[in-house]
Structure formats: C-alpha cells, structure tokens
Symmetry: C2
Subunit: 187 residues, 2 copies
C-alpha cells in the first residue's frame, strides 16, 4: 500500500505529532510504502493565487510535486488539530492549491467527477475540548460534512473520520488510549 | 456605527469584490464609520506560528494592528468565497492569528468567555454551485455551525449568515438580485 501521511502542526511536541509518529510506526510494521508531507517543516505557502487558476501560467514546481504525491498514493492519512472548528490555514491552503481542477476532480457532462477514485482516506482530528462540546454544537458533524462531501469524498476518495477529543486538558491515560487506538486506524 | 469589513478574494473582478463594493456604498450612505481589511491586498501571512502562542514573544505589529481593529468595531461584515466547503486559507489564518486568547476570548472559571460581546456580524458567503448542492449535502449547515458556534458566536458576537449561491455559473439577473439584496444586510 502506498500511504501518504499529511501532517499539520508547528509544535513537534504536540499530541498531533505523537499520533503521526505512531502512525508511521504502525504503517511501517504493516509493510506500507510511506511518504510524509509535513506542511510546517516544508514551509508550505497556503495562499491561493490568481496565477494558480490561470491556464496560461505554469503550475509551480512545489505544487506539481505535491500533486504527484497525491496521485501516487492509494491511501491518505490526514492528521491535524482543530482550530476554530476548522483545519489549520496551512492545510486549508494545501487543499486550495494542490487539489486543483484536472488533478483531484473535473467537470464532465454529468457535473463534477472525482479523479481520485479507488483511494481511501482516514482523517484524524485532535480537539482541545471534550467531545461533548463538539457533538452538542454540531461541530463534529460539520467536520464530517466538510471533509467528506466537501473535500475528499468530492474527489472520489472513500473517507473515514476519527476525533480524538480533550487532548489538551485530558489525562495522560486518555492520550495513551488514543495512541493505542492508532493501530486500528491503519489499513 | 463602527463597521469593519473583512474581504477575501485575489480577483478584483470577482463577484465577492462586487458585493464588497456595494457594501461599502450602502454602509457609507447609512453614515457608518468604515474600515476595510483586504487580506490579499495586505499580503496577510496566515500561518499560525509557535511564536504567536508564546507568552514570552511580543505579538507582531501587524497582528496588534488587526486586533485593535477587531476591538474598535461594533459590527463586522465578513465576505468570502466558499472553497472546498470552507473559507479561504488566508481568512482562516487571519482568525487563527488575530482572534487570540485574551483578545477574542478567555478561559474563566466557568469555561470559555467571549470578549467581543455586544458586537454583531454578518457573514456573506459566495458559492460557485447552486444552493441545493450545499443544503442537501449539509454544507450550508456546516458553515453556519463553524461560523457561529465555532467562531464568531464563540467570541460573543451575534452572528447572521447569508449565502449567495451559483454566483459562478448563474445568470446576470441572479447576481444583480444579490447585489440589490446587500442593502438589507447592512444594519
């Protein structure tokens, strides 16, 4: 399995990073071929530009390389912290710039068509507050809609979403339990 | 009324820009004191950094100036195009960096408390596809949750959200109708 991990956090001591390290270990032990995109370390520029949308201007080399990775993978794991009920800006901009028309989807006669069909994704979202806050306010549901119908599902990717709640203020035991759960999230 | 308009688009010929121009005209004719944040023109850096979160490092001058504007306003109008069912990265990062702990909210004894109470916001979201796509897939609802419970409402701001659908492929008449509707969105 060609497994692309897209990891987003500025803090290498974050729980998001611990989850990612565990993911890499599990996927390695399962024999996956792994590639990792570390958006902060790679200093990704997330601002979609007019030039990104112009058919007359060549796609920048870094964006082309990321698009090649997206097409290379059979499976994606996307790991990020929820900030303001949404993904971090650097990850949002990665989607805006890399998942472009003709790469991730196209408009055909029957409307939009996903170009990443046959692939699967696991989205792991770490949240600072307990799950109850996000379920009662509809924020978990919003993340499911946005990631599936709005984004990966739109591109034809079969998508599953996992929330790890209360990672900031919860107990060490809670976090340990999440880390143990990671094995079950690696296909 | 002190009215802060936060506008996001890279294309000054976009419908999002036309809406913003109309907003400025209407607010001017109603006697508002207006300030505009044009995130693309101001070349805003949307990537939240470890230094933004450190109590030992001074807040950058541009972020301080934006925070001053946020506190200055009685009313916000936030205008953006929906990309991948979410706000553009440059706007997401504006929230991540400017709406910080101690400015937009704080954690008190009773949990989080909005520090922008008494203010109002109108969020205007321009979408490329017709409304039906977003209502059936739950994407409109997700934007309402994310903007209200997740973001402006969390800061204590009374928030209303308007969708202008099908702005890319719809008719000139449709867009003209939306522009006429803007007057009713200015308090």
């Amino acid at each position: 399995m060609k497994h692309l991990i897209i990891y987003t956090h500025f803090n290498s001591n974050s729980f998001t990073k611990a989850i990612t390290n565990k993911l890499v270990n599990e996927a390695t032990s399962k024999g996956h071929e792994i590639k990792i995109i570390d958006l902060y370390a790679e200093n990704f520029d997330p601002v979609l530009k007019a030039s990104d949308m112009s058919p007359d201007i060549e796609t920048p080399k870094d964006i082309l390389a990321y698009q090649k990775l997206i097409k290379w993978a059979d499976h994606y794991t996307v790991v990020y912290p929820l900030w303001w009920g949404q993904m971090p800006a650097i990850l949002k901009g990665f989607i805006d710039r890399v998942f472009s028309n003709g790469v991730a989807f196209k408009y055909g006669e029957k409307g939009p068509e996903g170009l990443l069909k046959g692939r699967t994704a696991r989205v792991i979202i770490c949240t600072g507050s307990p799950d109850a806050y996000y379920t009662q306010s509809g924020m978990h549901d919003a993340q499911v809609r946005v990631n599936d119908a709005g984004l990966f599902g739109f591109c034809g990717i079969e998508t599953k979403i996992t929330f790890f709640g209360d990672v900031a203020m919860g107990t060490d035991e809670l976090r340990k339990g999440y880390l143990e759960q990671v094995a079950s999230l690696v296909p």
